[in-house]
Amino acid sequence: MKKIILIGILSVLVFSACENELDQAPLSNRSAADFYNNETDFEQAIVGIYNALAYHSASQFYLSEVRSDNVYIPGLAGVREWIPVSNFSKTLVTNPLVRDAWDDPYVGILRANTVLDRLNENAVPDQTTRNRMEGEVKFLRAFFYFDLVRFFGGVPIIDKLITPSEALEISRATPQAVYDFIVSDLDDAISLLPSTSTAAGRPSSVVAKALLGKVYLTMSGPTYGIQGPGLGVDMTSQALTLFNDVIASNQYGDVPSYATIFRSNSENNADIVFSIQNINDGTGGDKGIGTILPTLMYHEAWARVNMPFAGGVPSDGHITPSNQVLNSFEANDVRDDFSILRTWVDANNNTSNDAMIIKYLDLADVPVDRFNWGIDFPVIRYTDVLMMKAEILLKNGPSQEVDDIVNNVRNRAGLGTVSNVDLDMLLEERRKEFIGEGLRFHDLVRTGKVIDVINAWDAVDDAAAVMSPMIPNFIIYPINQSQLEVKPGLYTQNPGYN
């Protein structure tokens, strides 16, 4: 009997000691329970928001560059996901590229909302630091919404941390409401951020002004009768003031060589107002610090000869610059050879004339795998700010100031001067200057020319007759089928797609 009592006592001791073991924290990642306590934690949480920017380059490339008259894909097989984007197919509701352009910004918005929800003076006592943090977060949140509103029109506005069930109750806001939210965030950012950036790639109040200027200019585009990015309002004078502020800050200036603007070894130069930062640290894997962008643009058959790793666009979906854009380059335009490779030789020694965009292909900085290119992706260039200013000035007709801006750009490209620049000439110059940067479709939409320009191009360049006519509904993209299925009726689909 004594033995039993002894065992009983021992058991009770052992059992109660062990129950503490039921609280196990993750061993290979942190948890929110012991985070958001100090300045370092918040710096890391904010880095997490920047990390969410990674989607931006590919989404601008596919949904603006490939969508525009800069790219033509005969795509007979019709199976690569960028082909229906390029040829204005109606069947985009399940397209993964379109889906990602909706999903990915919201990841950044969640991270931004988390930081704004947690940020407090106990954790970050220094007011200046806290202001800078809040300013960066609001800048980034506005950035994400600006991407959304341009591709989808009105979207759900999530402005705080929400539970899954709350998410099921928030439907789409109007484009106007989304812009109001963006403007409010950027106004806050302008007042909270320091006037100069604390590190390359972080916004200052000047960067926020450049972005807000672009937002105002985009709002000022025509509506085309759809719930799209243009509101048909005139906010150009506000935009002009902001662009002038950016110019007056003297933080940016002319970069004499076009190549210098983009190359890895001269990143963050005087032309870069804001860019997505990438580095090639010489290792592989998915660390979220490199980009796949150059590989999305080159052809696989070319890469088999020239790249040390797998990847590239298969031959049934070559993303080739359109004949029209190829022919538009004047002789000796340095941007032509820098941005486009027109002929190349494949592994069977056959010469191919399938051109490709090589603007970001920095062969001096080749990573170990296709996911880790270190090239930055410019989002707002000083050249863009100047040319957007010219675009506003053109409302009053051609002027010397506009001519000067354009000739400055042409001069760097090794071209002669022009005069009496009008909107079409400005757009044509932008097309070549910014080829591959994902601006073209937005430029056409903003300036009211997208329907006419695309259809005119379609008429001459669509040799394989794969393109559908451009209609206003195609200015914005449909919401992905999966989002419509989460709660039928929560979102109304953009018209024109099935």
Partner: protein
Amino acid sequence: MKNKMTLLMSMLMFTLMYTSGYAQEKKVSGTVTDVSNMPLPGVNVVVKGTKNGASTDFDGNYSISVSNGETLVFSYVGFKTKELLVGSANTYNISLETDNAQLDEVIVIGYGSQKKTSITGAVASFSASGVDERPLVRLDQALVGQLSGVRVKQTSGVPGAGFQIQIRGTGSINASNEPLYVVDGFPLDTDGQPSNLNPNDIETIQVLKDASSTAIYGSRGSNGVVLITTKQGKSGKPKISFNTYTGWNETVKKLDVLSSEEWVARAMEHQNYSYVRNFGAQGATSSDTNDQRRAILGLGPNAINTGYMYDERWLQPGHPGLDYVDWQDLFFRKGLIQSYQLSATGGTDTSKYYISGDYSNQEGIAIGVNNERFNLRANIEVTPNENLKFGINIAPSFSTIDDPGVEGKDAITHIVVSQTPIVESAVGALYTNTGEFSSYPWAGSRVSPLAEATFNKRSTKRFRNLATIFVEYNLLEGLTYKGTINSDLQINTNDRFTPSWITRNRTATGSKSGDTRTSFVTEHTLNYLKSFNKHNFNLLGGYSYNVFNFEDYSINASGFPSDDVETINVASTTSGSATKSKNTLISYFGRLMYDYNEKYFFQATLRRDGSSRFGDNTKFGTFPSLSAGWRITEEDFMSSNNFFNELKLRGSWGISGNNNIGNYEHIANLSNTNYSFGGNLASGQSPANFANADLSWEKSESTNIGLDIGIFNNRIFSSIEYYTKRNSDLLLNIPVPTSSGFGTALTNIGEVLNKGWEFELTTRNITNKDFTWTTNLNLSHNTNEVKKLGPNNTPILGGAFDITHNILEVGRPMYTLYLVQQDGLLTTEDINNGVARYGNQEAGDPKYVDINEDGVITPDDRTYSGSPNPDYLWGITNSFKYKDFDLSVQLQGQWGGKIYSTFGRAMYRTGQGASDNLLDLGPRYIWQEGAIVTEADVAGLERKSPSSFGRIKNTDWLYDNDYWRVRNISLGYNLGSQIQSDLISGARIYVTMENWFGGDKYDGGFNPEAVNNSGDDYGAFPLSRSVTFGLNLNF
């Protein structure tokens, strides 16, 4: 007739008896009857220790010569053997009792064992005899088709790959549906199938199916529990057994794809289609020669555009310079199998042992696939005094698996099927597009799959050791303490090296990765037995502590200076990762078993589980069960019944759980999300999930009604079960609008109901002295229905690639396939009439059904297209024994389910390019320039091959997953009587055909149960079939 035979044999026996008679012998006679006094004819009567014997006649009478003091043995199939010491009397009337061996069988249950007659829940039992003679690499191969209600899904043919066992359907949507495995009382880590068991060591396997049996395992019981018992030592002289077999295995099937000639015809069809489509305006026609095409395309002399131009050699007799290749014939092979097993058992009153060793080596059914295994086991038990027993079980194993990457999307099997079936003769199939050789210009960019299979190095080494120490101590009369300490250590290491010359970019890569899983379990139970006045009590109380650790690492390397050194120390670039996780489980449990005179049975269990996996608000869960049984045949009013030998009614209810919910899912986890500023790396942290402090186990409530029937002296024994299993609080990744930043949130919500019946039948059809025939049959039916989903019961769609293709919806089976329906082909008239189309479909393309009648085909036209779960599972084993020969034939199968093959995307998709090969599903409509396509042109044909409308998930990749297989045929011959040796006490030779015959309806893939890519089949490696010859020697 039978009686005449008996008579004849009796007379023969008499003759024998007289010829070998002794002087002191006398003649003894009598009548043999059963307990109800019915005479038994044909009973064997033998004088013990001699060959002197007789049989009873038609009236049960026997007569035999025997001396006083000798013993007569009366034996008859279906009855207990009886011995009789011959005294002075000359007449002995004998009554034989029914043999309830089948009922007296002891069944292992959770934390104990029970007589089969006492079972009140639903337990399926499988005796592993004969398994050692089958070339089995994995446990699933032994269990398939043997147990009712147990679906063994052989999801992969790769040696060492996992399998799935589903007991009574699937009740969980996102958590695992795998049962808990318990080996000799040691519950294995929940994601640890008993991968290292030597089939030769297994004595029995029991599967606990209903909650009254599994609730004692609490939060791990809801998917059923598989109890595996290994062979234990038996006291007596050492018995040594040696078993070996050798033979070959090969693929069960190959896929029907286009032959090289058919491929050429299709390639030219594609070229003409593109050429006319793109250059028709410039006068291009299908009949243009290559030179005419060059002119239109603006190419120089000798230039080739493979998209629009053909290879001139295709048209020349014997296609000079080209090899036409059947990749499957080159890839699959006959692989050699060999196995050697040695075991010894013996012991004394104070110690017993069972030790065994096993080496087996299987060349796979395809190039590069191999499997080698080495197992040891020692089960040792010491009994120093009558109150104390302790022992150890230790089972280390080591295996090596070579798999160059044969299964899944873009893996070798996929490429073998879809690779262009033509290569340049100068290069050959093995070397096409490798090293300095380029690909055949009309082929795709894939490297030769043969080169990959042959030279891609991928090997996995697995070490695993299961160890148990146990102590049993009788504290008081009827009160026993048992304590165990168990450890499971698994170390897996993967080495990979791909030489540069077989990669598309001629760049070598390598990696080393691995994981270590440890599981430590200690359990303590007290068991109290008490009987009085026919009341029998069995009380159990226990405590269990489990801790599981998991660690993994991987190092990827590139920049190898050459292909000569394959280890990653020479690589110029490496990147690595390593993670750890842990979970703990603490449990208290108890059980009361009571019976009255083995007539009425009652059982109750209770378990309380606390797990680190559960949220802070739900740390502990409680799992009760109740069950009862009634042996009607034990009732007085049944005593005069001669029909039923056994009639028993069982009923049970219980709740068990499923804790396979991930280790840290309830916590607000952060993930590493880095960025860089100005070229400087910055570390970031971001929310990784919606935290849920209420997260807990899934609950499974089940009821079971069972009936056991034994008739004709138990020559026919049957069990029938009806059950319902309601799984609720399902762990569901409910879709959330991605505007929240996450696509899903893990929540305990949702409910699935499984119900069904199971039927098991054992019959001993013929039981002659020289010939016996027994049949085991099982048949089960299960239906599965989703009862509740997330808030609003919004359906959840799933399935990878393009668009979703399955649906979870209330009122329908889980993962109901959800597809656009194909209905024939489009005609020109259809196009002109504006029939609903998907994109720019043309005549000859598939016609899809416009379900929502909106005039256009969209994803909204998907509809319910069957369920992946079969309605019926069946298995039947016939065993024959004739003199020294024995033969066993096992068939099994399933019907009523569907498989959706995403593999079709690789080899039978609309818009598939000309370079790939294509499934040959029958004659297809051939595109013709400018043709008016009528209904008659397309009737009964497959769709045309070239198209440009893209693709939408539809019924063309949908197949029945019905199949039947002759799982095993074993023929053996016992040499025992032929061998005169003091050394060898027994010898047997046998031949086994494993999985040799069979059929299925899955023309679009190798294995109708394959799962290898997001829940679907995208390039399964086929199952194998084998013939082996073996020898078994006992010493």
